[in-house]
């Protein structure tokens, strides 16, 4: 027994299984959740279809034409769905645990506390968004690679880099989220966690080029270097949607920086988390 290390993978699989059992016992809810997730994506497409009726691209000479932008949109959904499936319910639960004092039990477990906080719930319904994202990605990539003029040629390096940066992006989002959730320790109840999260990540939903005008530069710097949410979708989408040859040196630098930022976010959020646990007061119910 001494020195035994629990298998994190097994524990995670049990978490996932338990969540599935739970979701399946509220089946109507599950189905409705899937439906509303999907209708949300459809509405989004509808909105951008309307926008592209009036313009050929988002931003002047940014290269974000209709299909390129749909790759961007698909990337947003993929990352969002990963975050919503694996982390969102847990971050919300974490705030609630802090408020109610039920975090106690997580602290007793002989396993990394951040792990046991970050993974217990899996929101399987949110995966429908992943499905929609992949579908849209495939569709618009097909359009891009088969178009008449100047078809996009898929580079094998892209196929490696895209998933890699998706993971990086998800980790950055996770770090922001767990940091936000940790602040519940100091702020008392954090009802607006979800809103706050939404508003911050809202900046990540658009191509970064649109911020690079006037005082938007300040926003661009802030959300690239301070809270690097702008890198989350932009880097993988940029790599996927347009030929690597058009990546300028600044873009490559940003791509390199994104790896650094991912690590920094992870380390920083870990620190905040540990600090939060130290200040945890265990409300008595």
């Amino acid at each position: 027994m001494a020195g035994y290390r629990p298998s994190y993978l097994t524990v995670f699989l049990t978490f996932a299984r338990n969540s599935l059992v739970r979701d399946m016992s509220f089946r109507t809810n599950f189905i409705l959740q899937c439906i509303s997730t999907i209708s949300w994506t459809v509405m989004n497409i509808g909105f951008y279809l309307i926008v592209f009726q009036y313009t050929d691209s988002i931003g002047k000479e940014t290269g974000w034409g209709r299909n390129e932008f749909f790759v961007f949109l698909a990337t947003t959904w993929i990352i969002n769905s990963l975050v919503q499936t694996f982390f969102m319910p847990n971050a919300q639960q974490f705030s609630e645990l802090i408020r109610s004092g039920n975090l106690d039990f997580a602290l007793l477990k002989p396993i990394d506390t951040q792990f046991v906080i970050s993974f217990p719930r899996v929101d399987w319904a949110a995966l429908s968004n992943l499905f929609m994202g992949i579908t849209l990605l495939c569709y618009s990539m097909y359009q891009l690679t088969t178009r008449e003029s100047d078809p996009l040629v898929l580079d094998w390096r892209v196929l490696l880099m895209y998933p890699f940066y998706i993971v990086c992006g998800t980790i950055i989002m996770y770090s922001v989220m767990i940091t936000l959730a940790s602040t519940s320790v100091w702020l008392g109840r954090n009802q607006t966690l979800y809103n706050f999260w939404f508003y911050i990540t809202n900046f990540s939903r658009y191509p970064m080029e649109i911020y690079k005008v006037g005082w938007g530069m300040a926003l661009w710097v802030f959300f690239t270097f301070i809270i690097p949410v702008l890198l989350v979708v932009n880097i993988p989408a940029r790599i996927m949607a347009r030929p690597l040859s058009t990546m300028n040196s600044q873009m490559w630098q940003l791509a390199g920086f994104a790896i650094l930022a991912t690590l920094a976010c992870l380390v920083l959020s870990r620190r905040v988390f540990v600090r939060a646990l130290k200040s945890y007061r265990s409300a008595s119910s």
Binding site: M1, A2, G3, Y4, R5, P6, S7, T10, V11, T14, F15, N18, V21, R22, S25, F26, S100, G101, N102, L103, D104, F105, L107, L108, K109, P110, I111, T113, V116, G188, K278, Y280, R281, S282, S284, S285
Partner: protein, 343 residues
Amino acid sequence: MPMALIELHNLQKTYRVYHKKEGLRASIKGLFKRTYKEVQAVKGIDLQVEQGEFVAFLGPNGAGKTTTLKLLSGVIHPTSGTATVMGHTPWHRENDYRRRFALVMGQKNQLWWDLPAQESFRLHQQIYGIEPEAFQQTHDELTDLLGLRDLLSQPVRELSLGERMKMELTAALLHNPEVLFLDEPTIGLDVVAQHNIQQFLKYYQEKRKITILLTSHYMKDVAALCKRVVIIANGQIQYDGSLSGIIDETTNRKLVTLQFADPISDSLLSSLQRFGTLVHLEEPRVTLGVTRDDVPAMLTSILDAHDIDDLIVEEPPLEEVIAEVFARVAETSSTQRDEDGVA
């Protein structure tokens, strides 16, 4: 000097709480300027507990019992002082330590609400890395002892409070902890469920010789289970010793009940009150609280003078003694506070 299994030295915990004032206007003011209040939940506790002891923490609400248990399980950090449990400092939260103890709280639950308890147990097995055979054996033993067999596949939210508590106990004991902290495990339960849990704890502790610290409001729990009682009030230990010792130490009073053959006249009553304080009067019975040393003298004088049908001399009931201890503590602490105020 060999260390005891659990050792606390001058352990202190102070909470800083936001002082919320009444009323809307004060709340708006609170937006801009907050006033904080320090709550000294635990004010320096020294305690040693040996392996295999079953210790009860008693104390009025807000005494600091739960806080002490939370400190010992590493859930919160102390403001100052030290504690070691089985050689570990609890709030370092080493995995080696966390695998060796358990905490059960009557007011909080750790099982997955919407799932059968069975699923939570399995998760425990994986988190604690319990061998399958060992797990099965402990699991079967516990569920049989607590009579939970048929409830294992029912979602926890559908269980009664008592059943849920038993499930919580089972979950906490699956990894064979050597030290168990129980915070009001019988709170809100009916008499039968309380009794069941008492019996179970008694049996389990005797069999496994584990060390248990228990807080409870029910004297029955304490009387049935614990030889050693620690009274905590105002974040300090007021008494540490045997249960019967409390009675000797706190009160040198006996209750003397006399049943008179004749009606009790006012003059008799006032003459009786020379011997002790009147506790209860219900013709033809009188109950008096009398200093232990005065009892023989009192009895001789009364038996000489009056016709007595019946006579009982007894210890005051446990609840009452404890209440008296609490009351006395409250008194001394309030005078203390006054002195602090003057200084």
